[in-house]
């Protein structure tokens, strides 16, 4: 306690400044150690990825504005009206929103890979087969998956409808606030339309949730089909992996689309896929990106992997993700 009195912060602001200064010193050391010694193998974003994220974010905001506005405001450019304000506020950089968009980017890429490789048509996949199932829950859920996929394929479905309720709630009210700032007046129409949009939003109609529901109710004789992406289709395959690993649907999409095949191999092992089944899935999704190194690792290790250890590892991935993505007071309900 031999500090000079003048070192002591006298206001809240200077207290925070001092804390931040010390924090930055600590950060420098940590960056050094972590970057030097233990590379995290980050995937560098490609031009294509960045462009896709920007386009999708615009589409989300545009979709919400379309639902809220009777007549679009004239801002003199092609961006959504609230775009500039939301961008400036930093909200569009929120990890949960970017993660959602990146998951959709991954979803598109992976769906294309299945289509390119698979000889099955959509009508031969599990959701289509369930349409005629005697159990109404299965038939209705399969219908929801197919409808959602079809609308997405034909770009007639607003992307915001795939957002989780928590994220949509936050985004809608921010768009309302931004529109209010732009127009300078509080518009009761925007508020009532926002309430209507949120009240009508049905999470169970998104492909992600419908697929998870289908997997939940799937009779045992179809469970193995759900772990084959060609038979199941992408949403049901990913939902099946999510159900068995406890990881979130979007998390699995991003792990599959990541630069390494190792997380996918771990997921497949947790789901008890045999060596050959797992290799087929990895080849389907990774194709020519698979390096001899990855194949070696897979060949030497897959059979001897301990499922319990992998489950513990997957739980730690999920924990890290929750820490990274959680909104204050939101996203608390657990869903996979």
């Amino acid at each position: 306690m031999d500090r000079d009195l003048e070192d002591l912060p006298s206001t809240n602001e200077s207290l925070l400044a001092v804390a931040a200064r010390y924090a930055r010193d600590a950060q420098a050391q940590c960056v050094d150690v972590s970057e030097f010694a233990f590379p995290s193998g980050l995937r560098m974003p490609s031009e294509e990825m960045i462009s896709s994220v920007a386009t999708k974010l615009r589409a989300i905001i545009q979709g919400i504005e379309k639902a809220l506005l009777e007549v679009p405001l004239d801002t003199g450019n092609s961006d959504p009206n609230s775009w500039a304000l939301l961008t400036k506020s930093g909200f569009l950089k929120e990890p949960a929103l970017i993660d959602f968009v990146l998951a959709r980017y991954a979803e598109e890429r992976l769906a294309v890979r299945i289509l390119a490789k698979s000889e099955r048509s959509v009508t031969e996949q599990l959701p289509a087969m369930m349409l005629s199932h005697g159990e109404a829950t299965l038939a209705d859920t399969a219908q929801a998956i197919l409808a959602s996929e079809s609308l997405s394929r034909h770009s007639t479905k607003s992307l915001y409808r795939e957002l989780s309720p928590e994220l949509l709630h936050l985004l809608v009210w921010r768009v309302v606030a931004a529109l209010q700032i732009i127009s300078g007046v509080k518009n009761p129409h925007h508020i009532s339309e926002a309430k209507k949009l949120l009240a009508e939003h049905d999470e169970s109609q998104s492909a992600r949730v419908a697929a998870r529901k289908l997997v939940h109710f799937l009779p045992e004789e179809y469970l193995s089909d759900a772990t084959d992406p060609e038979k199941a289709g992408l949403p049901v395959f990913v939902a099946s992996m999510a159900a068995q690993t406890g990881l979130e649907y979007d998390h699995i999409l991003r792990l599959i689309d990541g630069h390494s095949s190792t997380p996918l191999a771990a997921i497949l092992k947790i789901c008890s896929l045999s060596h050959d089944q797992a290799m087929a899935v990895i080849c389907l999704f990774k194709g020519f990106d698979l390096t001899p190194y990855e194949v070696n690792i897979f060949e030497e290790n897959y059979d001897s992997l301990e499922i319990e250890q992998l489950e513990a590892e997957a739980r730690s991935w999920a924990d890290e993700r929750i820490k990274f993505l959680t909104f204050p007071d939101m996203n608390r309900a657990v869903n996979t």
Partner: protein, 448 residues
Amino acid sequence: VNSSLNLTSQATADVSSDGRLLRADEAIMRLHQQAGGVEGGIFAVPSLAAIARSTHQIKMRLARAVRVASDNNNIELWVESELLGDIATLSVSGWRAVDANPPQDKIDRDKQNDKGNNDGELLFDRNFRLVSAAGDVANFIDTKSIGAPAGDIFDTDRGNANILLSFMEKQELARVDGVFFKGHNTAYTILADVKSNAEGVFTGYLCELHSYDASATQDQNNLVSPEPLFGQQLAPVLRQPLGRIIANAETIGSKLQGPIRDSYATYAKDIANAARHLVALVDDLGDLEAIERPDFSTAKDNIELGDLSRRVAGLLALKAADHRITILIPPEELIVSAKAEFRRVLQILINLVTNAIRYSPVGTEVSISIDTKGELAKIAVSDEGAGIDPDNQQKIFEKFERLGRSGDGGSGLGLYISRRLARAMGGELEVANSKQGGAIFTLTLPTK
């Protein structure tokens, strides 16, 4: 849960905005009661209560799979909820027994119910007031003490009760030996378990009491732990508070809970970043500890040094561009194979190239070259910086050696770890100066 329930059985429940279970079909009511809930009380099944709470909060329809614990097994349920008036109505179906790891709420309840292996339990609320006493300890802590603060129950003049109380004030898990109660002469070992609700909000402490055996503790302390101290024992303890710092600082920095000055937000983001990197440091120091263990070993992968060079150049391209430095890589047709662990060699190279970028003048080149000599494969990283004084060329590989530099973000661990790794793979890491004056770090690795 009734064994007659199956995938198609449907049950509903109504939950009020303050979290009370107003009405429930039999199956849900049974889960609620098994979780310690009472009729008309707060909904006690955490995952279902969380969905009801979210429904009230955002007034939207939700549909989710959740896992809950019953007395006999774990069940996965499909839950759909919507807000009708001021009541969240949950519709629960798809009752599917699962044999995976029990959910945390079940583990907590089992611990709470497991009264056979201890001498009693004390439950404190969030203000550290006694809520209940069970087991042997109830013989001398009578009902008049219910509601009393923890400081009035533990004897802070004897033993280690003070330590326990200080842990509790900081809301940390604690195991404290030699704790005495006021007016009682037996010492106890106390395991204090932090309790929190489904949202992770601190709700109090459950203290398990065990007879304290001083001699056994002494013997235990004399044993050398075969477990890594940092990686397996300290790191998990450090991660939790750091996680809280990150979450709180992120909340402040993102301004999601209200507007604050930009400078405050910047400070908060700095704090969050620093804490995030401290978490990384904690993990890394755990790894460092692993490297220094005598049984540390590396894999023998077939690797190609040209491929590694290109990966490193790609990973560090942005960092190099920031310094307007160009990274030169070997031509694609040049193939140099080696036998070493891919991840570790990548780690060493990233360390060397990052160093080169950091200490090279702006606008210069960092070059990665590869070569084979006999049974050794070589990969060298050279820069156009000031080079390293020959007197210091060994010193820089020592742990925490910074050569008097400070403020550049270095910690003096990177080269130490790199050389240890190189040697563990049967290779070597050395440094020399080029004729032009820059430093050349050369990593040699076996080819077979």
